[in-house]
Amino acid sequence: MTPTFIVSHGHYATLEEALRPRGWLRQDWTRQAALGIVGVGAFFTVWSLLTYLGLIDRKLLPTPHAIAVAFGGSIGDGTLARELGHTLSRVLTGFALGTSAGLVVGFAMALSRHAKAVIYPVFMATFPLPKIALLPLSMVYLGVGEAPIVAVVALSAFYLLPVNVMAAIGNIDKVYHDVAQNLNVTPSLFRRSVAFPYALPMVLAAIRSAWAISLIVVIAAEMLVGGSGLGFLIWQSVQAGEIEVMFSSFVTIGILGYGSHLLIDGLTRLLVPWQVNV
């Protein structure tokens, strides 16, 4: 048999490397940026074509221009700032109440077996209920106003924390307990120097989820209760046939969501500098 030869050049370590084109686009970041611009550009082009050529009803999808004008208008006359202010004050109050209560209850259950025994059964029985469903009941108890919205946001945020806090503390490697015992570390010092920092990354992840759910819930609650807030503004603008206002509210909510995610990212990096970035 005549032997054949393989001269090693052929393979690539990753699929992505195999897909990488040659030439000027080889620089990764140039390529990424170029493709990103192409994607966003294509989006706006298709949108513009559909609306300016009248291929789609402008009552359903306005032109980019009309939305920009409406956005500018609602900033100019203060509507957007006013409604955003309402939404923010509700979501921030509810979120702050819910997460701090969640942290207290979570650490109580994680660190004390008796607290866990008392709270856990009731907590787990009520955990699977979608908290937005409690809005009518909280209106019965708290009247129609700010309180039921804040309460539902707080409950939604609250329930995400204890589970994660307990999981984080439960995950602490036995070796840390051994080290602490060996060094005669007091329980309170153990909590401060091991348990809290150990739980921090997971707690921050839970806080991030709690914030995302809070936004979903506050918009939903504002639509249900009415009166004020971005959720209300969206409904009202649809009913008034001002769909551009609705889209400019989407832009506002999007910026709010994106901005707050960046903020939480920054906070995570600041508070957990020892964690490898994902």
């Binding site: 048999m1 032997p3 030869f5 393989i6 001269v7």
Partner: protein, 274 residues
Amino acid sequence: MQLSGDVKISVNNVGKVFGRRDGPVSVLQGIDLEARDGEFVCIIGPSGCGKTTLLRICAGLERASTGTVSLRRDDESRPSNTMVFQEQSVFPWKTVRGNIEYGLLVRGVPKSERRRISDLYIEQLGLGGFDRSYPHQLSGGMKQRVSIGRAFANDPEILLMDEPFANLDEQTRMVLQEVLLGTWQDTGKTVLFITHSLDEAIALGDRVVVMSSRPGEIKAEFRVDLPRPRSILSLKSDSRFLGLVGQLWDTLRDEVTGLAEVVDTSRGGQEAIR
């Protein structure tokens, strides 16, 4: 490219430069290396000397910056080369049998044949009774056996091994060295074996290639003329074996002493000192 005689692997003037943010780093330089058909070649060198990179270039997982690697292929029905990775390369979502059969599955070998071959290696590697276990149920040593089994079952002409026993305890390592030697003896594969343990290099290899610290170059070659078949356990007290370890250590010491951290991490070095 034509390889003369029974040369199976030919590495010619291979160099590798990595682009780093603070400028290019040369990790390999002017490597020339040959391995004969059926030869067991060990490559040893201080940490960071680029020996893993060299192996990865041979496996085609990385490209050389300069030079070429040629592998002779004698049998088109078998894969040319397969790499034995460290134990964390075992797929957690496949059972022991599924992992061992992976290469065969990818090549489209029919199920009954796959089963016959995996049975053979499950038996030979002492994994009997664990064929349906998932890796998380196994110890590190068992996982490493699976990783070896996966490469052996694939039946390549050339085996490329990257410190396969580095994370194992001493007893497990000796057992697996015996297993490896036995299987190699039966199949006559060509083996390139990376290690940082002097004992291991001499116990296993026909030839030991010593590399220098970065940029990695070939510093020396030793022929190991201990008779085969070898028994790992009786070698440990063999005077010729100990003599060779001493010689190898003398050669390597100059490379290692320049890098204090290397002495700490190189288990081979510490064993030789003792």
